[in-house]
Amino acid sequence: MSDERLRGLLEKAFPDTPAVFHERMAQIAENEAARKKRVAGRVFGALRIALVCVVILFGCTGALALMNHFGVLDIYSILGMPPYYPLPEAEDLVQKDLADVQIGSLEWQVDEAVFDGRILRILFSVRDVNGTPVQTPAPEKLLRGGSAGEIMFRDLCQREQMNLKLIGNGEVLVDGRPCFIQYMEFLPGDDPCVVVGWVDCRMEGLDDDAGEIRRYLPEGYMVVEMPFGYDREKNETDPDSLAFVLKAGDAASRYAVPLPAPCTLDSGAVFAFEDLHFSPVQVYMDYTITVPPERTGDLPEDEFLLMDAAESRPEFQARPRLMNARDEVLGERREMHYGVHVGDDGSLVLSVHVEFTPSDRYTDTVYLVSDTWKVPIPLKQ
């Protein structure tokens, strides 16, 4: 069953919002309005909110329309995401004009792609060849969810009844293996008939047979398929995709750094790197901090409480930064996520994934540093 069909069934299965719920929300809105009148003696109506929405919407659209002139490595800093400065040699990894297909009245182009050994970044565009412009969404449509670009992308695709598996599944196929999309965004193009999209794809996916997450880091060439699904009938997905061949080269191994041996922190917890990758596009790290059972105390079974217990430990609270031997901070932390679980032996294990922008100030050994620990990473053996 497709995700869309499951969504449809769940929509029908859930009861309608009951009056008691709606009334409670309305009551809070009324109370807030009364509070505001009392406090300020001024009336701000829905018109003001609508105007703010319109200003924000058109402000964003105007700024983002400039996007088409940038390449895939320029994208991140444009939307106000954390600073992103790839090293100049990252340009060698950029491959351009990889695919151009027309489905009905829509022309799909893969303009640029970059694979740095850990993340595959794809910049693509969709154009209505009939020249029918894509409408900027009304503010009330924006309030219901989705960015202006995504709403415009969906509107454009609906012209050809595209199923948009790319959005629904959140996966790109690499050599036939599903790989998770980490980040996806759509922006109005500088041509009113064009929407630009980009995808950051992590090179790991769910193995359906085993139910396990599997990493896939190809070398040489890889076939990339971005599934859209072409709905010619009703809610039936025909396999269709925007496919292209990308030179992966040896990026997966070239920028990988040999893992140092695990070390014991002052708190008694064991720190171990699982992956270290210093590409000219970005730095990626996976590591674990394991608190042995004799130091954990009683651990709660509830997942939320377990997370709270983990976060209250000094070695877990720290936000790491990357530093060189001269104590200079290297790059900006861009992405960090973590999870906690209890190991088979009762230990408390924190698994962290963190990414930094690259730097041209590496020393032979750099350090991952928190407020309570400093772990060396030898870059040159």
Partner: protein, 157 residues
């Protein structure tokens, strides 16, 4: 962010908020209590929120925590109100079966299913809401579909 801006965003998410609360709590009255508590917490902290686009995710996260707190306070006791029974009667058998199957899933599986398949949140955002890894969210979605298939003896899910 101004409080009234936050509230306007929140009101636009009413349906999502109800369905998320209903995924964790059975009684509609409990759901209403939870959303009230979550909205008040959200309003109090709204000035700290800079990006309007995150209201829905942020409020949903507050609501999930509030619902879980309510369950903890109530010792995980669950009750079905008369109004719930009435609303169930209005829906057809197939839909009730799916809803019941969903409710039969462990809460850890049920919440990602509703957030992802029904409300369209990306797995990455769900991971942040639930403070678990993206991979674990996807694994739970996979596990949920597998269990739903078994419960409903339905090949297609």
């Amino acid at each position: 962010m101004q409080r009234e801006e936050f509230l306007a965003e929140a009101m636009a998410c009413e349906r999502t908020l109800y369905r998320v609360a209903k995924t964790i709590l059975r009684s509609d009255f409990d759901c209403a209590d939870a959303v009230q508590e979550a909205l008040l917490k959200g309003l109090k902290n709204a000035p700290m929120l800079r990006e309007k686009q995150y209201v829905k995710t942020w409020l949903t996260r507050i609501l999930i925590n509030t619902c879980k707190d309510m369950l903890r306070r109530a010792g995980r006791a669950r009750t079905v109100s008369l109004s719930d029974a009435c609303s169930a009667a209005d829906r057809n058998l197939e839909n009730i079966e799916l809803y019941d199957a969903l409710q039969a899933l462990d809460e850890k599986l049920r919440i990602p299913v509703v957030l992802h398949y029904l409300e369209g949140f990306p797995t990455e955002e769900i991971a942040r809401m639930l403070k678990i890894t993206d991979g674990l969210v996807r694994r739970r979605l996979w596990q949920a579909r597998k269990e739903l298939r078994e419960i409903l003896k339905e090949e297609a899910i």
